[in-house]
Point group: C3
Chain length 661, copies 3
Amino acid sequence: MTTRRLTDRLGGLAFGGDYNPEQWDEEVWKQDDELMRRAGVNLATVGVFSWALLEPEEGRYDFAWLDAHLDRLHTNGVAVDLATPTASPPPWFTLAHPDALPVGPDGTRLTHGSRDTYCLAAPAYRDAARGLASVLAERYGDHPAVVLWHVHNEYVTLCWCDRTAAAFRVWLRARHGSLDALNEAWGTAFWSQRYTSWEQVLPPRATQWHKNPGQALDFRRFWSDETLAAYREQRDAIRAHSDRPVTTNLMLPGYQNLDLWDFGREVDLVSIDHYPTAPGVDAAADTAFGADRARSFAGGAPWLLMEQGTNTVYAGDRTLGKEPGEILRHSLGHIARGSEGALFFQWRQSRAGAETWHSAMVPHAGPDSRTFREVARTGAAVGRLGELAGSTVRAEVAVLHDSDAWWALDVDGLPSAELDYHAALRRAHRALWDAGVTTDFAHPEQELGRYRLVVAPALFLLSDAGAVNLRRYVEGGGTLFVQHATGYVDDRLHARLGGYPAAPLREALGIRVEEYRPLRREERITLSDGSHATAWSESLRAEGAETIASYTHGLLAGTPALTRHSFGAGQGWYLSARLDDTDHAALVARLLDATGVRPELPGLPPGVEAVTRHAADGRRWHVVMNHGAEPAQLPQPLHDLLTDGPVSALPPGGCAVLRAR
Amino acid sequence: MTTRRLTDRLGGLAFGGDYNPEQWDEEVWKQDDELMRRAGVNLATVGVFSWALLEPEEGRYDFAWLDAHLDRLHTNGVAVDLATPTASPPPWFTLAHPDALPVGPDGTRLTHGSRDTYCLAAPAYRDAARGLASVLAERYGDHPAVVLWHVHNEYVTLCWCDRTAAAFRVWLRARHGSLDALNEAWGTAFWSQRYTSWEQVLPPRATQWHKNPGQALDFRRFWSDETLAAYREQRDAIRAHSDRPVTTNLMLPGYQNLDLWDFGREVDLVSIDHYPTAPGVDAAADTAFGADRARSFAGGAPWLLMEQGTNTVYAGDRTLGKEPGEILRHSLGHIARGSEGALFFQWRQSRAGAETWHSAMVPHAGPDSRTFREVARTGAAVGRLGELAGSTVRAEVAVLHDSDAWWALDVDGLPSAELDYHAALRRAHRALWDAGVTTDFAHPEQELGRYRLVVAPALFLLSDAGAVNLRRYVEGGGTLFVQHATGYVDDRLHARLGGYPAAPLREALGIRVEEYRPLRREERITLSDGSHATAWSESLRAEGAETIASYTHGLLAGTPALTRHSFGAGQGWYLSARLDDTDHAALVARLLDATGVRPELPGLPPGVEAVTRHAADGRRWHVVMNHGAEPAQLPQPLHDLLTDGPVSALPPGGCAVLRAR
Amino acid sequence: MTTRRLTDRLGGLAFGGDYNPEQWDEEVWKQDDELMRRAGVNLATVGVFSWALLEPEEGRYDFAWLDAHLDRLHTNGVAVDLATPTASPPPWFTLAHPDALPVGPDGTRLTHGSRDTYCLAAPAYRDAARGLASVLAERYGDHPAVVLWHVHNEYVTLCWCDRTAAAFRVWLRARHGSLDALNEAWGTAFWSQRYTSWEQVLPPRATQWHKNPGQALDFRRFWSDETLAAYREQRDAIRAHSDRPVTTNLMLPGYQNLDLWDFGREVDLVSIDHYPTAPGVDAAADTAFGADRARSFAGGAPWLLMEQGTNTVYAGDRTLGKEPGEILRHSLGHIARGSEGALFFQWRQSRAGAETWHSAMVPHAGPDSRTFREVARTGAAVGRLGELAGSTVRAEVAVLHDSDAWWALDVDGLPSAELDYHAALRRAHRALWDAGVTTDFAHPEQELGRYRLVVAPALFLLSDAGAVNLRRYVEGGGTLFVQHATGYVDDRLHARLGGYPAAPLREALGIRVEEYRPLRREERITLSDGSHATAWSESLRAEGAETIASYTHGLLAGTPALTRHSFGAGQGWYLSARLDDTDHAALVARLLDATGVRPELPGLPPGVEAVTRHAADGRRWHVVMNHGAEPAQLPQPLHDLLTDGPVSALPPGGCAVLRAR
């Protein structure tokens, strides 16, 4: 069961979005049919928030309305991504199962009136969710409109209730085997936390001081596994009745409640929701970051952009609109990096309710609007890209990415609040994006031999296996670029003794970190090569490595800041401080140069992004987007699928999908 | 029953304040009598916090102490505004009625040790409050000292408890009639929120994501109505025994838990508490803002400043003192705009308790103090203004003001946190105040024909009736100045489709808003006329309107920013961005000029405020206050009531009440 | 029972730290033995977090492991400070005694998974704690290794539960005698808070508005007394079995849940934990501040630095490392001011658990590290200072310090958030430290005659006895320097009437404060002598005092800002605004000059700190630390204990302990 089947069924890439007809009436449905045709919509996600309609009272189902919508869509040539509506139980569920509501770490029980009012670990909720998936699949498993199953929506709800505590204990028993092992793993000898019976073990609820970090990390792992189990139950219930592929839309970026590598293995098709948090070129970089992560979680296979906004950039306390052309550019940005289409939340902007002001394909203003015109233009463009279906993306550089490492930087009592995993990951990716290079994300324990360069930012937690793997990678000829605060702890959050990082990595890098020395807020230091750094520094000993740049002031004056080590057939670089962005970019460029990594479509001016998709039969397409304010000359004229003609230059904001020769 | 009776009984304007003799002993009472005479006090508010004394245990009343104080005050020539003490139940009430304590949205139950420890919707509390009002009125309804009833104190307490939930359901049934109507109004089709029984409906308690906005708005409306019902019960209990007017002191500004138009209709005399939040000229503008609102809620009738501070400006994390003369200027600022006197909280600064540091007429330092001398000077001044009693204020400009619109901007999920209703209201009023023009506030659905200019800032919610009313106003010859983000939703928070604002208003303005485009934080744009704007912009189409200024950059370049439309006999202006203060002031000045609105006492230099009170018989008085640092020449010498002589100039900080010729 | 016995038993000053061998295995223990010898460790604190090991289930004790460690340490020449492990109940305690968990003011019940999971007022906890102390003392009371008892750890846990409420009522009955007295003290006449039965009285839990300040202050006092009672119970249980001195490590600075004067009287040896919050010279000043407080709480007797960090400065959201030499300088900074040694938390940096990143004597990197080398160097230095044991420190200046005054500035409803007691205390101490003068802290009611100069910063609360005491001090020839906002309330938080401060102090100062006038945020004013001030000003009348500097602007122009009054044989100075640091330092220097207070080792350049310890037999030692960046010449060459030779200059960062001639 592969995504290939999805594009086959659609006859091309997917274009469309979440469709919630239950918010509207028959007259609007008719207009929808017409507008979907005008916009080139071929896929609609239906039923995400329909529990209350589908099961108006416990055990009584009403399918008639859904039958009608599916038939109408099918007749109109729109395929359906059918959702299980389990992300939003109706109010009756609260009253029937008050013990299945989510509870905060301080004991506050949340209630309905919003969405996601459930505890994923509560048996009553799980039974209900599995039951819904089963009845839906039974009824619609072979419906001709249905081409994809959409389990749940954005699994990000947490809980600390007693049901959760019970499930956590089951998970801990399986992980640790014995209380002794748990006590050892969590370091409960400190602060007198030794557990002497399983029933004493709780989720990390409100405490007076720092919580036990091992408990906090295991709770994150448990919750990811518990969520995965909930997903699997629905998936398996669907598979019993349907051969269509099953996915769940993963929430990117900024949420990290799940191990997305795990999810990538359990879905038939990775799909993500992606909303940028800054406008302009930052949104484009953010798009690439999200898309590269999605492709990586999919193991390099094609994936699907399930949700984006037509006119929404979430910028803190406001939502900014998009600039002209961004709907198309962002859509192509995802497709360039492996998405088999571009979908939106949602088709029609809500007239009422919590997301009235979330943008949509048909805005409040109606079809006579810039937004709808750009949507239709984008739909037409996507419609011309059918030949890309099934092609993939290649990268020679990887950034290491591990949920454990992320969670490890979320515990209490760390040396600095500036150890921000997500920010470090984005920074590393951004430097590579600015250099025009396509980047994969990779797990520290996976085979890395295919990459010329591997970057490890803020990998605070690194397992024994990961450390050995990285040493093997360098030894085998790879270039590894490790950044500060990496490898300080093992997978139980136990500190590495005798100097950081873990010994195998020290060997590959030829260094030993004796002391971490966070910089003062606002402090900015200068290295011997004139570069600048903030936030962090380390007292480092070269043990075989060559010093490329050293510290110049204070305790660390004259000691190494940036080192390079030849080890086996490869090289290990270590950067012990957080370089300023431009200095960091210059260093990354140097490493790319040293490793011979080049853009696949070289010769483009700055601000022009190009990514290449490769078909199994050798065909290639360059997706090119000009994010700059100046026209950009292409290195050579090529055939553009969007205009079906040759293109040799792109205006500001312009895009092309070029058939490579 | 009118306020006229109050000033008749007092023989002039009111002067005095809250008097809490239970905090002091007999020796102090004697001094109080003497000092009140020296200060010209003729009205004291008694009993606001006396529940614990009046009813020391449930059902047992002690009136002796109150009898004595009322008699003493009466003997001393001080009339009494007698309060029902229901704003602060005593500790025994907590233990007797734990289910009547207020509960937060997260379930935290508050307790005594402060004040306002009750749920207004709890039957036990309501019974107790009504009972207290009744016994007080029965005993003191005809007491010769009592000239006014003061129900409760500053109704601003909210609650989310189960008692509240029950009352909310009763209110919702009455408003919506059926669950189907409620589901339609709240847009529960979205996020699977459909209610299938009334008992599922809750107040908007803690949820994980955005709360349903319709539920949030209805909860605000319900709570205002519930509060009004609680007020009415007390009022009616009093009326059964007393013919004195009844009021409740409304808390201004910054609190918006009540629909103050509704309260204005149910009290015999509007009274407000007013504390500025910034010093100097800002405090004067704030005073005018509060006073104009109070007069408007009173339907133009005289009203009463029930509380102000003698030496307190609440400036965030500190209280600033007032400057010399401000006690008088602020008092006159209220009287100028229709207050029938000037009262303070409180007579004597508390020696202990939560408000030890709240200023008073007699400060800790005692009568030999600047504060008390200024109080006495102010009392003498107010004493000379008896002839103003019953006169009123006239305005040719109105700013639209609607609680629904305020509440509509308090819900989750709006496009920008900079849509601040209160700030927009103050800004509009301030520009008019700076121009020397007296301003009314008006409800969008009320008859507006009397105004030459009507300003509508941030009226995000506008009902169908309101939109029709505004169109009628313009058509009939009025000039309407609508500012950005107005009329986006109807009174159920349903978005206006086909372009904002509501269709009748679009017609009057000759424009259609296609897209809202919040600006980035710190972003500042320039319009074609050189003015600047921040926070917000809109993609606007002129549909009949003339473009006065247009955008100059980005997506909106060349499109209209400020428009004017001739419609019927009037004009509709639309401003789609938030202008800088000076540009906004210039635009307002242009509109005043265009509509022929002029100060009633023209020719005054900037920084000199003048307001005119009009008697029914044609007499007029100009209250003039020089807030500037320079002496101010008056246009002509007039007789000043304060000095009982002619005045032709005011020193910095000086005031006069001039008999107009 | 005195600390003398401790240094006698140790044969010199103490050096070592918290030792938690239960986190490690036998191999590490062996290395510990060797490294402790290398580092000169002679005292280890054992058992602080060992409840779970000592009492693995309720009532079953396991001493074997502790026996072994004590014997091993003893054999290795390391004495033991044996702790009762009551600061961290094990998880089983939560399940056995859920009613003994701590509860926040909003009702949130905290749980285990961290430390300090108990309510100090819960009988079940108190019984358990007393029992543990008793069994430990019974078993180890005469153990040859044990030289000191360490009750609990950092008593800073608060609680608002029903057990606390019950204990609070008992305390209130004892303090106030009757409900009438309590009502009078708390000013319950205001806001209708009168209590009519004891069961109505609660801890200050969540309320809607300002809490009653008297209740808040009494709750702080109660909690300090309750904590002291808990300490005493353990101490007495220990004394029944052991003649070793008993202490509890007090948490400095920034915590103020305890009246440390009271604790100073109940411990056999004052001991403190001290962690600076800023690097560099600020850390040195902070060290002096903490050490002077500790010595003062000890009544001038020797005391002990129980905890410091080797490489940790807590700077908000990060921990900064120390600079080279600071481990020694900070240790000497404490010893200079009376500490009988220098101990650390902890011996070996944790490999896991909540404080993995808290620095230690043996860091993660191991003994081959800068940190361990500096530790060993410091141990060697401390080892050479045996002759200082028992010597004391003399001061001619005192800063007044009162928990009541601190707590008085923590209540709701004060005129300004900038009335920060702790900051004011530090500022006063810092100005004296910068001037090279050794400072005591003193209680306002204690005999002050021995001091030439007494400084009173932010003593908002001043009891009648305190006011009389200060008047007596001035009258008797002292110089008293009182700063703004002092003496506004008495010990019941009742405002002083007729002008602040309390009358006896007004007499001594020859002034009367009529009005407080907080300055606006960011406002900075100029006084007539050119000095500047922020945050606060006062309207002051000179009543006998001479004006030294006056205000220059606004309402206060021309009125006194700084005054001096000759009263009896002394002088009272009053400063009514918060001077800028440099102006404040200049004024303090002027006062030191006027009172003839000089450094004990004069002639040192700025940045060089010197403190003198005095033996009973007249011997003296100057502990000198150069915090500056330049070499510092000493006034004369003296014999340095650290190098056992003459020293005439100190390099940057250098230290010496000079035998005075």
